[in-house]
């Protein structure tokens, strides 16, 4: 009894303190980048690595500031972001339709899945020559390549997850005489949302990977172009600046996706939720 009362007293203040503690925990994510930045600064300051290989952080910052000043920074960021989002949207759309189809129907799975798996086995960069031949060197080939990259994680996660939906929940839908489309919409898709979101985040990550490949294969604008430009003109600071911008943009877009999809997943009663409370 005494112990129970003690425990109650102990839990009350900590429950109240949860909000600020959560915020301070989020700051932990900055610890490693800041430590790396400090190590980088020290390495260059004491001349441990030649400056033409690893320029000082201040030089990298100056590259970014210059781009900002002449107004091209947002053009480069904007076009890269546009390519990523357009390719991601198209890839996701195709993956959702095909994933739902092959996940739901055995016949569709038998018919389509082997081909899709075979296409997946083609190294993605191997598409580049063909896409350029078919679609030209401008936006269409780039966006298509990114769409191909984003397609597979979304398709695989959705198609597999639909097959794994609890038979018992599907039976409830059958009991109410749901048509196949109603069953997909009201039981199968909601039940697979967690896996679908995992697929979306994987697809977005691959879209960012592929945009580099797409921009390296010939572009006059974009982060990948900046990187190539830095290599051609011997400006390591520009290469590193592009890398950091890629990391920031990728992380920001993933965070935006995670935040947007969080309300769909609020029902999940899992370990991640338990850790939070």
């Amino acid at each position: 009894m005494v112990m129970a009362v003690d425990r109650l007293r102990l839990t009350l203040p900590s429950a109240r303190a949860r909000q600020p503690r959560q915020a301070s925990l989020a700051l932990w994510g900055w610890a490693l980048p800041l430590a790396l930045l400090a190590a980088w600064e020290l390495t260059t300051r004491f001349g441990l690595v030649a400056p033409h290989l690893l320029p000082a952080p201040a030089l990298v910052w100056r590259e970014v500031a210059d781009l900002w000043r002449d107004g091209t920074l947002f053009e480069h960021l904007g076009i890269t972001l546009w390519r990523v989002l357009t390719g991601f949207a198209l890839g996701t759309l195709a993956a959702t339709v095909l994933g739902a189809l092959t996940g739901y129907s055995t016949a569709a799975h038998r018919l389509l899945d082997p081909t899709i798996q075979a296409i997946k086995a083609v190294p993605s960069l191997a598409w580049v020559p063909l896409f350029i031949l078919w679609l030209g060197i401008f936006e269409a080939s780039k966006v298509t390549l990114i769409a191909v990259g984003a397609f597979f994680p979304v398709y695989l996660n959705l198609s597999t997850a639909i097959g794994q939906v609890d038979r018992k929940l599907v039976e409830v839908g059958r009991m109410y005489g749901f048509s196949p489309l109603t069953l997909v919409r009201r039981v199968l898709l909601p039940a697979t949302l967690p896996a679908y979101v995992t697929g979306l985040r994987g697809g977005l990550a691959l879209a960012w990977m592929f945009v580099v490949a797409a921009e390296l294969m010939g572009a006059s604008q974009g982060l990948g172009f900046l990187m190539l430009d830095g290599q051609m003109t011997g400006r390591p600071a520009l290469i590193i600046a592009s890398l950091i911008l890629f990391a920031l943009m990728g992380k920001a877009s993933d965070l935006a996706l995670a935040r947007t999809t969080a309300p769909w997943l609020r029902w999940q009663d899992d370990f991640a939720r338990m850790r939070k409370t």
Partner: protein, 241 residues
């Protein structure tokens, strides 16, 4: 009227789950199916629900053969089987998708109150106790206003107090709606407390061994000598198997 006519069920692999089942259930009647595991009682219920097809024979509802699930028949599963992503309210209205919005709303709200979950309309299933979740499942089945309610060991996962509470609750709902109910259970007291007839089944293959008419007065007192005597009779019939 629900008529089960010479129903057989063979599963691939040579298992005969049901053999020559004949049973007629009248309108508004509560019939309990009891038997040890493997006697095919759940299979029979799934055939009545249209979730499985009999290998031979047929099930007829007012003369029409049941070939698949239909709105006149409701089902309460052993587990609540609520959609974890929907609120309690949305779960209760889950089977009403083809009805006009105001009908959906009206029925959902009435049932929320009727099963005592109005305080939990916006809660998620993971926030409910086992008894509350099963009450929500009962409400979801009743929302379609079925003529026949099939219950597959609906209270077997609950603790003794909650179970009796829900049994009482089911009887109250039945008093109000007078649906026909078929209840599969392995709890003899549950069968005796609720049913007007108890069908005793035996396994390997599943057959009907006996049908007992329970004419104890309602509400039934579980500690009454007649109640306990009937329970002993039934237990004896089951052990013979």
């Amino acid at each position: 009227m629900l008529a089960i006519d010479d129903v057989h069920k063979h599963f691939p692999g040579g298992v005969t789950a049901l053999q020559g089942i004949d049973l007629t259930v009248g309108e508004g009647e509560i019939v309990a199916l009891v038997g040890t595991s493997g006697c095919g009682k759940s299979t029979l219920l799934r055939i009545l629900a249209g979730l499985e097809q009999p290998s031979r024979g047929a099930v007829r509802l007012d003369g029409a053969t049941i070939t698949g699930p239909e709105p006149r028949i409701g089902f309460v599963f052993q587990e609540p089987r609520l959609m974890p992503w929907l609120t309690v309210e949305a779960n209760i209205g889950f089977g009403l998708h083809d009805l006009p919005a105001e009908v959906q709303h009206g029925r959902t709200q009435r049932l929320l109150h009727r099963v005592g979950l109005h305080g939990f309309a916006k809660a998620l299933p993971s926030e409910l106790s086992g008894g509350m979740a099963q009450r929500a499942a009962l409400a979801r089945a009743l929302a379609r206003e079925p003529e026949i309610l099939l219950l597959d060991e609906p209270f077997s996962a609950l603790d003794a107090f909650t179970r009796e509470d829900l049994q009482r609750h089911l009887l109250e709902l039945w008093e109000e709606w007078r649906f026909t109910a078929l209840l599969v259970t392995h709890d003899l007291e549950e069968a005796l407390a609720l049913a007007q007839r108890v069908v005793v089944m035996r396994p390997h293959p599943g057959t009907i061994h006996d049908v007992l008419t329970i004419d104890l007065p309602t509400p039934r007192i579980r500690t009454a000598p007649e109640f306990q005597a009937l329970k002993a009779t039934m237990a004896a019939k089951l052990k013979l198997a």
